[in-house]
Symmetry: C2
Subunit: 458 residues, 2 copies
Amino acid sequence: MTTLEARGFDPAHSLLLTDLYQLNMVDSYLRGGLTGTAVFEFFVRRLPPGRNFLLAAGLDQALAFLEDARLTDAEADWLRAGGRFPPALVDFLAGFRFTGDVDAMAEGTPFFPHEPILRVTAPLPQAQLVETRLVNLLQFQTLVASKAVRMVLAAPGRRLVDFGLRRAHGGEAGLLAARAAYLAGFAGTATVPAEPLFGVPVFGTMAHSFVLAHDSETAAFAAFARDHPDQTVFLIDTYDTERGAEAVVALAPRLRAAGIGVRGVRLDSGDLADHAVKVRTILDTGGLLQARIFASGGIDEHLLARLHAAAAPIDAYGVGTSLVTSEDAPALDCAYKLQAYAGRPRRKRSEGKATWPGAKQVYRFHGGDGSCTHDLVTTADDPPPPGGTPLLAPALRGGRRVPDLPDLAASRTHAAAVGRLPESLRRLDPAPPYGVDISPALCLLAHEADGAADRAGG
Amino acid sequence: MTTLEARGFDPAHSLLLTDLYQLNMVDSYLRGGLTGTAVFEFFVRRLPPGRNFLLAAGLDQALAFLEDARLTDAEADWLRAGGRFPPALVDFLAGFRFTGDVDAMAEGTPFFPHEPILRVTAPLPQAQLVETRLVNLLQFQTLVASKAVRMVLAAPGRRLVDFGLRRAHGGEAGLLAARAAYLAGFAGTATVPAEPLFGVPVFGTMAHSFVLAHDSETAAFAAFARDHPDQTVFLIDTYDTERGAEAVVALAPRLRAAGIGVRGVRLDSGDLADHAVKVRTILDTGGLLQARIFASGGIDEHLLARLHAAAAPIDAYGVGTSLVTSEDAPALDCAYKLQAYAGRPRRKRSEGKATWPGAKQVYRFHGGDGSCTHDLVTTADDPPPPGGTPLLAPALRGGRRVPDLPDLAASRTHAAAVGRLPESLRRLDPAPPYGVDISPALCLLAHEADGAADRAGG
């Protein structure tokens, strides 16, 4: 469509996928010799309404971006052509390689406001330039994983599958949502490339259009069973849910004669609990005791909790819009902030947005039964407190990944440790906040940073 | 990271960026000989709460997808390797070219529930396969354009700029949000690649980290002005907004001596109306009468309306999260439904999700002053009603674009015709619904479709 796109613009790895002000600031840093070491941290300022914790996600994509971000020739040509960007800046961008360090919480770690989940230590121009895309990658997967884990907790013993690609905000969102949901405990996704890209299992059978394209429901189900004898989950609500279930029962003997079993049916509209009870009876009465009931359509964690409380006979759920858009809270109040430059702690004091300065570490404390009791945020060089488990660990050193970072399967197992959070936090209702203490060392550093700023005339 | 990604997986043009069930259904269509002509339409079932209309957007990307979607060799290898997909299906996908027709509303057209904005007429397997990505592309840009136009209407005479990339749901969302906002009347974006990709103007100056990296605000402003004498918009809220404004006034004579003017200041926290009044006074008293005030931070259409009503002296706004996530309604209740197959109208009757069958056209009627009065939805082959303007027009024929489709600039001009909607609909408050009539011909067709379905046993 455009020169850049035709020449293979790849947003996922583009250094230019950033805000214009980053380029202006980097330009000034280079001219002014502000190339000392900067420490930036990514954290969330406050929990979305009604949420009790968040789940860290997106680190793998953030690291891949830092390792791979390059300016392409086409991008360099565009930057040079306009005359708007100084040649020295374009040269810097053309030669860009991220050479800094990253320390981060493992994906799947529950975390709380003002706890950094990622720290970048790098020359100021590098650390600044990568801000926008880092925030873009970390906030979205954290958002979706944090939503998904609520659904997982609300539907114990049930299989949850992401159906959200069509309502996701673009293609990358659909792919990354599938990954984040799986990380949080979903069984898989309908989004095909999530399997080759991330190893996420994919699921899917039929849509209403398939039923509508045939002359009858029965004809559609029979054709599908013939072609996919191992995937016989029939969508039964195109015309009337219970009549659809009866059609499946009536078809079953013919299928059985052909050696094909009925794996299940899917409900996608109406009162799911009511339909599920009626359909379960129809299936059981018809001898299809093994057939499972899948449900989809407008599902979120609150509906899952209600269906669970009502003991609705539903075995698995497809969840779309509410998951991939994090519908009740489609963004996190998060920031990537300069915490130290050239060895000096910094913090902004904008109203309602003050931050804790300096490089930080988060320690988590556990009770005798292994459950989490509270966290401590302190300076990165404060001596480790007895009994505290540090949550930030090296991820990149000199721009390259450290060995043995967990893969997605390991992160998914790690996320299951959400069961060690206090029980009140794992409920959907708002709970009293989890205790996050600020260490005396960090309070002292904040005073020092403010004093230095005041002496410098703000 | 993975084989597919390493081999250049490009979600934007991938045929595999779809739900697994599409592949299963296409497989069955091919085996069953269901390759007749299908008509699918994309429409919205109901408006998000509080909205009075939607703005069509995303057609250009939808058409580009249909024109360019291909299976890559790496994808074909993956499909073949697992043994899960039948060779005939993989061969079909490997040779896929979209050869169908598309009729659509021009981007920037206001529309209402149950009005199709895009119709696909193509062999059933083709029309089915493209569903997921078409919905993904159309719903997101329509969502953002519909949100953006509310902001444009709420802030007459003010310049609005998209600042949302970091909080967008992935990289593609950030890029497409920049495009959709511009289409709806925003002045531009901070997202750099939106200029080379779409021709959207980009804006940006400095962030808090720039101020924090210097020893004082004044030092930061002086350095920025030296390096970017034409972009002197200073961010003044890092420590204290009014003191920041005073620092700009104090610096101005030094800048003036160097031939540099102060273009403006930016506020990013606190009570924006209150700060703007105080800052305006400080700037005016300091002789900086020409300096403009920019505001950002937590802005949505309601805050814009309040600031406008209060006559806050703010000249331009940066809008992020609320725009790019459509925060109050991050998804549309939309669908891409089979409306006819092999010449016969179809419709599903699932509870709460019944649709109007058959290929449709939408006519808009205007009063003597040019303002819209009501719409009529009818069958595509119904004779045009006198005085009605048809809203769906050919976009693709035989898989290729028709000549002279509007470009983004033309679509942006077209979107400005939102001013012809009834005044009540252009307000932020919920208005009585706009009149959308269903023609007798369409009602008759729905009865016929239901009758045929009933005779076929549902």
